[in-house]
Amino acid sequence: MSIEVQYRDRAKELLAKGEVKLVIGYGGGSTPNRRRPVFASSPEEVDRLVLDSLCIANLSGYLVTEGLLSDEKKVAVFLRPEGIRSINILAAENQLNADQVVILGFETAGSDIRPLEGGNVLDFSEFIVTLSENRVVSDSDPVIDKLENMSAQERFSFWQDEFSKCIKCYACRQACPMCYCRRCIVDCNQPQWINTSAHTLGNFEWNIIRAFHLAGRCVECGNCDRACPVNIPLRLVNRRMAVEALNSFDHFAGLSVTQEPVLASFKKDDTETFIL
């Protein structure tokens, strides 16, 4: 039985038995190689679900939709490993109750797709620990390596070029499960720290602030990168911050539902390299 059929059956059963009120999964998109989210609240709708290696978006962000989980009923959601980690973060940051989330987990490698055993996020604990242990810091990415080898000046102009393209559409923010604030800092105008008009300085302010807000929280799902209409390689910024959090503070984002945010917690053995 293909994994798609297997998971459809499971989704159907969950809805039929009333264990969940909604299943969030993937469906066909506007072109053959695109997938879009599908929200199924009855067993009949489940047949629209698709599961293949093109299903890469992190759907966890839909769970924090205002009011969705306030009736204490459960919701099932299709998640890749990064998505499962983002459930941990959202739970650790008090944005949802992880027990209300039934995870339909899967993993892709090339065109291969495998199921991940479990339902509650706790069932994936060991799997995530293994991920964190196998996380290769220098995880080779030719562009990252190129950037690392640049001089500070060259790197600055690289980002200047990239950020100058930003049109401040905030699609990256909208797509990111971690950008759940009711009011984003860019929307503050008393005082207006970040310029709203799309010029390079204001764009820098926005993108750098977002990078800091995602430090130690970004799970590298790539939602923002894919959402960006002008193709700014946001994943490079996020990857760099993740490596920093890992190297400096041994912090792997989304390790558990009780993980403390790296920028708000203090450990006695934290490095003090920044204190003169």
Partner: protein, 656 residues
């Protein structure tokens, strides 16, 4: 409409010599919203303050900026002047054009321009300042003294004798610290234990002192006047109420060969033990690591020996949460491990010992009952070589600083030795003799003149053994030639270094420390007994190497600071506190975790039927210390700090 007064102070030549104050007056005079812009030689002087008050009254000013020194110096002065002139004191801002400008620049034109910018930015800020009113908080009148050496005991006694409650916490089984280990003390050569033990007993019996020995501070929360301290009372496995200290247990204990920490490894102790005969309290403890029962469940000979059934192997550690108003840290020092000087042979040759070990040999209570005998063969040495600065003033292997006491105790050791071993010879290798202090130089002169200590100026390069003797090779820099001296024993004056784990402990209680781990005072000259954290004071060798007189003096000084704090019922606190915007807070609890004072609570927002619709952060104004940590953390900018609001900071930055 803003009517701001700007007062530019020359601070004599301090500011006036480097920046053109008239230019600042002129520039600020034209700045929008400024109605008064004047300069004066010393605004902090009486006439200076009067002129500020007069300007406020006559011009109905809505805020003032004093461009002068750091706000740490005179913010309070000018706030008071405002209050006296009828202006809310928080409508006063200081533009620091001294420390941050005139003192650090040499180009007058550029410095003047910078001073104008700094002042402008503060004018922009003060325009947005609001009236604020001080907050009052209660003070818990109970002090905690951490460390029961001479410094801690002195501080505890001074506070207790003034009628206030003290909790004295000592991590070892007995009070006393290093002073209990010493033989006789410079510069008067009085017996250390004879002057120490009465203090220990007094502290233990004082009705205002609660003594917690064999206990450690695990956590400090709260702030000045209102700390909560968690103390772990480690289990002694001996009930202190029923134990009489008779000692039957340790005479029966079969494990007898444990090197005694108190005797620096020169003596032996049992697994159930008191560190020394005059221990206070004198109830023994069981050393779990060496006790046979804890290894294999057998033995219990001590239990059988105890007539009072005081020993119980099931006793557990206890935790106490104590409400404390002020803390004195008196955790002392340790002597540096000299193993890094391989060439001196410490650890390799038994007759190369440290100064502290020599103290134990010279003590009547020590392993040799006060006789100076070599550890290797228990024979009386006829010639002792002392090596000073074995670790101190040695940036390459030891520590850079001078340990301050070693010159003195080495002279003392030489004297004690010649008093005890008639005809004994001493040679002392030294770099300088530092004997500043009352009666100190006279003391070292006495060692040379009356007790014939032979001082050789120079460092030792090697110690080795030859024909049963220790050979010491060094240089005599005054004669300009190498020397080799034959000795029966070598004593190293090892450096005084912070306690092991001193840095960790500083983080636990939240105070600052230097590169070595000595605790930092708030100001080396003017606030030498206050730590950088309000309500936590320092005493003794935990702050820097000190002898007994200095440790005691600092202890009494910190006790007086504690008593001053306890002289009031309530403490006035700055109204600089945070508040949360419930409409925008995302309830992520980042600030709750980040707040070092646990001042932020989780609050439920309910709908009309009482159902929780969201959760938000809520700052407890009584606990908030205004540090601003939460503000920097909050991603949605939902927390703001009174007196330093986002709007004010923004205006300040844009004013530059």
């Amino acid at each position: 409409m803003a009517k701001i007064g700007v007062f530019i102070c020359h601070c004599g030549e301090n500011i006036g010599g480097r920046v053109d104050c008239s230019k600042i007056v002129e520039a600020l005079g034209e700045h929008p919203g400024v109605s008064v812009s004047v300069e004066y030689k010393y605004f902090c002087s009486d006439p200076g303050q009067e002129s500020v008050k007069k300007a406020i009254r006559e011009n109905h000013l809505t805020g003032i900026v004093v461009a002068a020194c750091s706000p740490r110096m005179h913010e309070a002065t000018f706030r008071k002047a405002c209050a006296e002139a009828g202006l809310n004191p928080y409508l006063c801002e200081i533009a620091n054009i001294r420390e941050q400008c005139s003192w650090v620049h040499s180009d007058k034109d550029m410095a003047t321009e910078k001073a104008i910018d700094i002042t402008r930015s503060m004018v922009e800020k003060v325009k947005l300042n609001n009236n604020l009113h001080p907050i009052e908080v209660p003070v818990t009148r109970r002090a905690m003294v951490i460390g029961g050496g001479i410094a801690g005991i002195q501080a505890a006694l001074d506070i207790a004798n003034a009628g206030q409650e003290v909790v004295l916490v000592e991590k070892e089984p007995s009070l006393g610290g290093h002073m209990a280990q010493l033989s006789e003390t410079f510069p008067t050569l009085d017996c250390s234990q004879c002057i120490m033990t009465p203090r220990m007993v007094e502290a233990a019996q004082h009705p205002n002192i609660t003594l917690l020995t064999y206990s450690e501070v695990e956590k400090v929360e709260g702030y000045i006047g209102n700390f909560t301290v968690r103390v772990k009372k480690k289990s002694r496995f001996v009930d202190m109420q029923t134990c009489t200290g008779c000692g039957d247990c340790y005479t029966k204990c079969p494990v007898k060969k444990i090197p005694s920490e108190f005797d620096c490894g020169l003596g032996r102790r049992t697994a159930i033990f008191t560190p020394f005969a005059q221990s206070v309290p004198n109830n023994p403890i069981i050393d779990k690591d060496h006790c046979i029962y804890f290894k294999n469940g057998k033995c219990q000979l001590c239990v059988k020996a105890c007539k009072f059934d005081a020993i119980n192997f099931t006793f557990q550690d206890e935790y106490l949460d104590l409400e404390i108003g002020a803390i004195v840290v008196a955790t002392g020092f340790q002597v540096q491990d000299t193993a890094m000087y391989g060439e001196y042979g410490y650890g390799k040759y038994p007759d190369v010992i440290t100064g502290l070990q020599f103290e134990r040999l010279a003590s009547a209570s020590g392993p040799t009952a006060g006789k100076i005998l070599r550890p290797s063969d228990q024979k009386e040495p006829q010639h002792i070589v002392f090596i000073q600065c074995a670790g101190s003033r040695d940036p390459s292997k030891g520590v850079r600083y001078c340990s301050k006491i070693c010159c003195m105790y080495t002279a003392k050791h030489a004297m004690l030795y010649t008093h005890k071993v008639h005809g004994g010879k001493t040679s002392i290798f030294y770099m300088d003799i530092r004997a500043g202090g009352k009666g100190y130089d006279e003391f070292t002169r006495r060692a040379i003149e009356e007790d014939e200590a032979s001082y050789l100026r120079g460092r030792v390069s090697k110690v080795w053994q030859e024909n049963g003797k220790l050979m010491v090779r060094g240089v005599d820099t005054l004669l300009g030639r190498p020397v080799e001296v034959e000795a029966d024993m070598v004593v190293l004056a090892t450096a005084m270094v912070p306690q092991p784990g001193a840095k960790e402990f500083a983080k636990t209680i939240g105070i600052g420390y230097d590169e070595y781990g000595f605790y930092n005072e708030a100001h080396l000259k003017l606030r030498p007994v206050e730590s950088s954290t309000a309500g936590i004071f320092l005493a003794g060798a935990c702050q820097s190497p000190k002898d007994i007189p200095d440790s005691v003096a600092q202890a009494s000084a910190s006790a007086s600071k504690v008593l001053a704090l306890f002289s009031k019922d309530r403490l006035e606190r700055e109204p600089v506190i945070a508040s949360c915007n419930e409409a925008t807070c995302a309830g992520c609890w980042g600030c709750v975790l980040a707040c070092p004072y646990n001042a932020i609570e989780k609050k439920d927002i309910l709908d009309r039927s009482g159902k929780v619709i969201k959760q938000v952060a809520s700052v407890n104004p009584g606990l908030c210390q205004g540090c601003g940590t939460c503000v920097t953390f909050c991603r949605s900018n939902s927390i703001d700090l009174a007196g330093f609001t986002e709007k004010q900071i923004f205006a300040e930055v844009m004013g530059l």
